[in-house]
Amino acid sequence: MEEKILLKYIDIPDIQKMEVYQKHDGYQAVAKALGEHKPGDIIELVKTSGLRGRGGAGFPAGLKWSFVPKDSDKPVYLCCNADEGEPGTFKDHLLMEKNPHQLIEGIIISAYAVNCHQAYIYIRGEFYQPRKVLEQAIKEAYEHNYLGKDILGQGFHLDLSLHVGAGSYIAGEETGLLESLEGKRAEPRLKPPFPAAVGLFKGPTVINNVETLSNVPHIILRGPEWFKGFGTEKSTGTKLFGLSGHINKPGVYELPMGILLKELIYQYGGGIIGGRKLKAVIPGGSSTPVLTADEIDVAMDFESLQAAGTMLGSAGVIVMDETTCMVDALANLTRFYAHESCGQCTPCREGVSWMEKIVRRIEQGKGRKGDLELLLDICDNISFKTLCPMGDAALGPVVSFITKFRSEFEDHIVQGRCPIKKDKSIKGRG
């Protein structure tokens, strides 16, 4: 069994309670960071560790922090993005529900590094249980002076507020999150300026994912070199992989970056349900391009997946077996994106909804010759032309599904019906 970082104490009973967490190295990283390091040192340590953002884009965390201007006359803010909404992704939910103090500790150290005195956790509205757990954990952290004024007598003060999200996928886009946090509609902002310069309430703002921040205490406590011992050269550390779909053992797995997708599915996930044949895998959450059964000899790290034409994204691995109708699956995915488009920019608002209607029509056996070319052309008119990355997220599956499973789409159109013998029983498994 590999060494774990984030999920190391996940099975300790009551680890979400302060006294239990403290017995397992809890808050030692905060003590070390505040007592032994200057803020700039922390940024350097995190840079050295190679820690990259776990929210999907994989941007180096230390580098992101270093963009925060040192001489801003506005307060610096830190926002923890806990609006986990990418279909197929459920790792942050686990981290918050099971080990909230690990995240709070990460937030304190990161805030210290960027000279921030007000941090927020923007948590997805539907996450009721993690919210209750975090509320309690934050209360405990205040009681133990890990939050509030003059933390551990080191002169650093930090307030942490838990903000319950307003329920939309786009609130997880970092500038959409900021708008929502300011009490407005979650509509992504035009960039530049980037949040590090002008973010929340126009102050410099760092936005990090739950998993990213949860790694920080471990890097401080055990050093960047130790952290770099996990994973690959450019994708360091471990990663939480969320396995779902037609798989025997779905769940969250912490494994070093670079593990083979095949191993993940067959060794850890226990293979395909009922011993059926694998058909397709979405490797990094619903917006990442799909891989066929022949393409799973790929290492699960940022570079290898990019080379394979897809992305690590949020590492939500969605497994689809031979009973899956790819047209139906795509119609379902596209419906999600059409429903979640904030609607402010035209290509995403109109284009994605149009695509949904076409794909649904093909699935219903009413497809026409030329529909696939039309879909790909709509994708071209959306691609890199929207205000935020949502447009591209929506067309990731469309382009890859049509390209890689074209004959299946054509069969629908030619036969005027769905030729796949679907097994949707997986829905009932809860």
Binding site: E340, S341, T346, L374
Partner: protein
Amino acid sequence: MAKIKIDGKELQVLDGITILEASDIAGIEIPHFCYHKELSIRGSCRMCLVEVEKMPKLVPACSTTVKDGMNIFTRSEKVVKYRKGVLEFFLIDHPLDCPICDQAGECTLQDYVYNYGSAVSRFTEEKEHFQRRKEFGPHVLHYTERCILCGRCIRFCEEISGTRELAIFNRGVRCEIDVFPGKRLDNKLSGNVVDLCPVGAMISKEFLFKSRVWWLSRTESICPICSRGCNIEIDSRDNKILRVRPRPNPEVNSYWMCDDGRFGWDFVHREDRLTSPLEREGGEMVPISWAQAIRLVKERLSQIISNFGKEAVAAIASPYLPNEDNYLLRVLLHSVIGSPHLALYQPPQVGERMVFPSGFTIEADKTPNLSGARDMTTTEGKEPISYREVLRRVASGEIRALYFLGGAPKISLPVEERETLKKADFLVVHDYAPSELTEWAEVVLPSLTFAEREGTFTNFQGRAQQLKPALLPPGEAKPDWEILQEIGRAMGGEVSYPSVEKVFEEVAGTISGYKGLSYKGLGSQGKAKG
């Protein structure tokens, strides 16, 4: 300065301006919807995307600033293809009801599709449907299905009027603009959202189905409803005003005007407009010819002058009338008759000025030309007589004849003023409709409203601005300056002003502050007096 190239055209522009601003300087059109000069940049319509050398993606021209050496392409293959694509997106959920849409003919979407779009749509699915028409407020209707969600109206209500009635509701293709529950779009600037709307989503209730816009005659003029003097365009057809819209003037009204001015021109089409000179015969006002009227005024004035002296004649200038008309009253009184008693009527001010967060202001002074009329009636070195003093001397019998320029039939005189006016031996009034003044007049001479006349108003800032006639005068009504000239001639004066321009020229030569100004030189935006 940055040296840039747009479509091969080299130009030097200021650092930090956007590609859209630079292309405007270069005279190259980049289509756009959500961008508006006076509103914050939203960058959401994605219409203005252009190609820039060495940039991997197309970039929004509205929000991308130019850099030295930038090579911009607004008509490259990539841009042309994308424009077709995004216009197709705009149209898929658009009802394409141009034949019944008020905006047709001045619709940005229509123009862009015609210029850059595709004649055929590939969209064969069911369009999204919404409630067809919503009433947002007393003046504005919203045709939701035509809306392209550029959000200009919302930003206007946030940034310019500061009233925040509008927002986008729902998400994705179900997005629609609406008023917040329990609110109405009833702020004093609400009509501006109709102008701002690039398509026919925001529609003026007053203009609804009134005319296809290409039948309208467009006349540049000045709003007469308050002393700000917003620059306006009068759109008329068949000698009727159909709508009034603001013309941009950064010195006066930016791109805006208030609803009082925009919808407050109904008096022009009053049923009881005066169409011929009237003479009092007992309790009745009887129409007479212009020749009879001029002769009558001349006889009565001469009679009073010979019985009581020149100083028994007084004239009251009007802040509702242009400079030229007031100036000729002065010529008549001072030069022809030789009386010093020229006063200015000033209505009592009710209410406060209304300042909006953007700085746009509706003035408390509801006369368009108080400043100008004051200039025209002030003679250097002479203490002007006040309106109140004139009334006092009428009451005491020192003043026997009163020449009153009206121009505002809505004015209401206090009872004691009316009683005083009755005491004058001779009262002659110019106005375009019956009023409390015409009620007591012996002779009423029919004049014009702002919409029919030429001349200049000097606004509260001291800016002289030109009115142009949009309509023909009703019946025999004439501009005041012409009437005054005829009376002057009848009285034996040598007055010869063939045009308003000539009157203005003399004003520019006589009245301090107006020196150096020329009528033509005022242009469409006016000029500040010295």
